[in-house]
């Protein structure tokens, strides 16, 4: 019976089931929208899950204020064109103290501007469930992550208190003040995501495609000079290079790759032929061993 069902259809159905289950069982869910390709797929799946109704939850973007300008422009147009309710939250306290990605190290900066900000936003709006676009194939430590990941009242991930998940019977019972993070894309791989974007013609931020952009080489990574806040070190002179990004985040912390891929098939080809993993462009992972694990405990995805 399932013989003719393709793996993408099977993944799509599974994700839609998860999205509907959460909408049915939780009072105040939210979808974390990071503007990246995984978020793009997750939002499309939500549109499919609730068609012809509108999304029964808002999108939430945690804005560190250091995102690429193209990302913010894309985000606003995306929400406007689709009529999504978009919430944006920034952790203003550290910003006032001048916390920035240059002086504070990617580790600490991320903790404050992303992890803490997310915890604040969840408390502020009283969300009891938050969808995130993380995939289990992203790295080794995510392989055992549940689809429903429980957080205590302080939004902390308690590794000893996670529930077994059997079949598609998710246990969404929580006490007041607790919440869950839900990962509808758990079983997708990077290639699945790209194939789906291609197949479904899902719009993505232009930064994923190659173009001439001003960059400097720093610590072995190509960093784009996206606005005037970029601090150049002595001797650094921005140069125009044809680059693109495999993953998007805060521009001073996101490395570009040299590439001429300007179409989805070209991106996919490059991805299949490249010999480096996706997360390599994300500087936060290199900071310290087991850093993902630490962040998760604090409430980061």
């Amino acid at each position: 019976m399932s013989a003719s069902l393709t793996h993408l259809k099977a993944l799509e159905a599974e994700s839609i089931h998860i999205l509907r289950e959460v909408a049915a069982e939780f009072e105040n869910p939210v979808m974390l929208y990071s503007i990246g390709k995984d978020s793009a797929v997750m939002v499309r799946l939500a549109q499919k899950a609730f068609h012809p109704s509108k999304l029964p939850f808002p999108l939430l973007h945690i804005d560190t204020t250091w995102k690429f300008r193209d990302m913010i422009a894309f985000r606003d147009e995306f929400a406007r064109a689709n009529g999504f309710e978009l919430l944006v939250h920034t952790n203003r306290a550290p910003e006032a103290q001048g916390v920035n990605p240059f002086d504070h190290g990617s580790q600490r900066y991320t903790t404050v501007m992303k992890t803490h900000a997310l915890v604040q936003a969840i408390a502020k709006w009283g969300f009891d469930a938050a969808f995130g676009g993380a995939r289990r194939d992203e790295e080794k430590s995510r392989a055992k992550e549940r689809v429903y990941s429980f957080r205590d009242r302080a939004s902390q991930w308690d590794p000893k208190n996670q529930r077994p998940e059997l079949w598609n019977l998710y246990n969404g019972r929580i006490h007041k003040g607790e919440s869950i993070r839900v990962f509808p894309l758990s079983n997708w791989t990077e290639l699945d995501v790209w194939q789906y974007i291609h197949l479904e013609k899902i719009p993505i931020v232009p930064l994923y495609f190659a173009a001439r952009r001003p960059v400097v080489m720093r610590d072995g990574a190509l960093i784009m000079v996206d606005d005037e806040r970029m601090r150049l070190l002595p001797g650094e002179v921005p140069e125009q290079r044809v680059v693109r990004f495999r993953t998007l985040g805060c521009y001073p912390l996101t490395g570009a790759i040299e590439s001429t891929a300007t179409t989805l098939p070209e991106i996919i080809r490059e991805m299949l032929l490249t010999r480096h993993s996706e997360r390599q462009g994300r500087m936060i992972d290199h900071d310290e061993k087991g850093s993902m694990e630490t962040k998760k405990r604090e409430g980061y995805f």
């Binding site: 019976m1 499919k48 012809p52 392989a143 993993s277």
Partner: protein, 564 residues
């Protein structure tokens, strides 16, 4: 770039390549083995050889392999999946780690179940979504109690296809006799488990024999290597029924003109125009449309997630099940018998009450009986009074509301449930339904009609008549409606009869309903015979005209109308 036709990609025909990729099927399999059987080495090699491992990870792998001298300088593939060791030390509960890889034919999801103490729980979790199990056997040790345990759990969880991977053949000189002896020992045991297919593969995960490539060192083995077998084994989910099962998950009402029932097709096929029945209400109607974001479908099959609209206004909501009108109806019962895997430190005991999640329905359920516990090594069943952590046993449960189900063996999606602790909210148990409980009315029904007792049990009430009296007809009617609502909200089946409908009272009593009769204008007498048919009723209550709803409910309770 081993798994991908690199040339084709480099030649630039990515579109053709993608078109091919989009035809891939998804196979989920489980790997089980005792510590040191070589499971990590095997999975690491599959990932490596199918190109999931990138160069930056490979560099790290080479560095780490060199540090550990056990592999004698060669790459130690097990390090690729070793992410769990440190977590075990930290006391993190890991049921299953999921790994992904793909070839040109199929995408694979491996459920890798670590740990030995929690083996049953972990394996059950991984097996619940798997189509196939790879059971590792160390060629030096042969079939161990552990091997039997893995096989039994796989079978109980409904896995139909098994690969017995006889690993470390290099340490036994690649001898055919070693392999054959293991096969001959395993086969009689496995026959009792009723797998649809068993494939025996001699291999060396370390040396790579019969994992991805064949083995020149075992020319006597004529079957395919593991990967080739995984790519081609037919795994059509025999567990799915032909008949439609559609548990309603979410109701979509974007505007007054649209009322759609969203859900995942658990089994069968749905088409516009098909006659369907909504359970447990039993209302029948037709499917109007099969709606998706990508347009209406002329046909949709399991496991697609779709939205149905119905031809009639039927009262359907989350937790109800829409089924095909033809043959092969599911059972509807409050009492079920099931095999339960217990996953909590505190044991399962008779009389305990849990939240039972079945499909999209969450109901309260009580353990009414524990029949036995399975010894997963010998398949013997022993009498038991409780089920402890990692035990599997047969249990009867009684739910507060009817469940619409099939036997797990016939359909996983409508035969599986979990048990949730009311206080901690933990998932304490997982169950696989075998059928209606022994005490369920109709469980043993063999053609004879349904008795009054059976009806009373199903409805949770005995038939009764409440006759409203008093001079004020409007007040009588108001009170009757309020009572009807109150009883209904309490889970009873009550209805108001007035005017000519009163003639139907006899039938309503036979159906086991609580009938509230509005006797008529000016009817002040307390004579129940005012309502024809009430005379024959077993339980008749005639409250005084100024009685409160509470008082009437109390009176009904005193008369034994409510059964719990």
């Amino acid at each position: 770039m081993r798994g991908v036709p690199e040339k084709q990609l480099l030649d630039g025909d990515v579109e053709a390549y993608l078109a091919l990729q989009q035809k891939k099927e998804l196979l989920r399999f489980l790997t089980c083995g005792s510590v040191d059987d070589g499971k990590s080495t095997l999975i690491g090699r599959l990932l490596h050889d199918s190109n999931v491992v990138h160069d930056d990870q490979l560099d790290a792998l080479r560095r780490d392999s060199a540090k550990r001298s056990s592999a004698g300088g060669a790459i130690d593939y097990s390090l690729l999946v070793d992410g769990l060791v440190s977590e075990r030390e930290q006391g993190i509960t890991i049921d299953v780690a999921y790994r992904y890889f793909a070839t040109d034919r199929r995408k694979f999801i491996i459920a890798d179940t670590p740990g030995h103490e929690q083996y049953t729980r972990n394996m059950a979790t991984g097996a619940s979504t798997a189509d196939l199990a790879v059971i590792l056997v160390d060629a030096r040790l042969g079939v161990l109690p552990q091997t039997r345990r893995h096989s039994t759990i796989a079978a109980l969880l409904g896995i139909r296809h098994v690969i017995v991977a006889v690993n470390k053949m290099d340490l036994r000189g690649y001898e055919r006799s070693v392999f054959e002896a293991i096969r001959q020992e395993y086969q009689p045991f496995a026959e009792k488990l009723g797998f649809a297919s068993i494939q025996y593969i001699p291999m060396s995960a370390l040396q790579g024999d019969n994992v991805v490539a064949g083995s020149e060192r075992m020319p006597w083995y004529e079957g395919p290597p593991l990967l080739a077998y995984l790519e081609t084994v037919p795994f059509a989910r025999s567990r799915d029924l032909e008949a439609l099962r559609f548990p309603v998950q979410y109701v979509l009402r974007p505007d007054l003109g649209f009322r759609g029932f969203a859900g995942t097709i658990a089994s069968g096929v749905v088409r516009p125009g098909a006659t369907v029945v909504c359970l447990p209400s039993g209302r029948s109607t037709k499917v109007a449309r099969v709606v998706t974001y990508d347009g209406d479908l002329a046909e949709a099959a399991a496991p697609l997630a779709v939205t149905l609209t119905l031809a009639d206004e039927v009262d359907v909501g989350r937790g109800d099940t829409i089924v095909g009108a033809g043959e092969g109806r599911p059972r509807v019962a409050r009492s079920i018998e099931a095999d339960v895997v217990w996953m909590n430190e505190a044991p399962l005991r008779v009389g305990a009450s849990y939240l039972l999640k079945h499909g999209t329905r969450m109901v309260s359920a009580e353990v009414s009986e524990i029949h036995d516990r399975v010894d997963v090594t010998t398949l013997e069943r022993h009498p038991a009074r409780s089920l402890g952590l990692n035990d599997i046993g047969r249990v009867s449960l009684t739910a507060a509301r009817p469940l619409v189900f099939d036997a797990y063996a016939a359909c996983h999606a409508t035969g599986a449930f979990i048990l949730v602790d009311r206080m901690t909210n933990g998932t304490d148990g997982a169950g696989m339904i075998r059928g209606p409980g022994a005490h369920e009315p109709g469980a043993s029904a063999t053609g004879e009609g349904v008795t009054a007792e059976e009806r009373a049990k199903r409805l949770g009430q005995n038939a009764a008549v409440v006759v409203m009296t008093g001079p004020d007809h409007v007040r009588q009617e108001e009170l009757a409606r309020a009572l009807e609502r109150r009883l209904w909200d309490d889970g009873h089946t009550a209805h108001v009869l007035e005017g000519r409908d009163v003639a139907a009272l006899g039938v309503c009593q036979r159906l086991g309903l609580i009938s509230i009769v509005v006797a008529g204008v000016g009817q002040a007498s307390a004579d129940p015979s005012a309502a024809p048919g009430a005379r024959d009723a077993e339980r008749v209550v005639v409250p005084s005209p100024d009685a409160s709803i509470e008082a009437i409910v109390e009176e009904l309770r005193a008369r034994g109308v409510f059964r719990s």
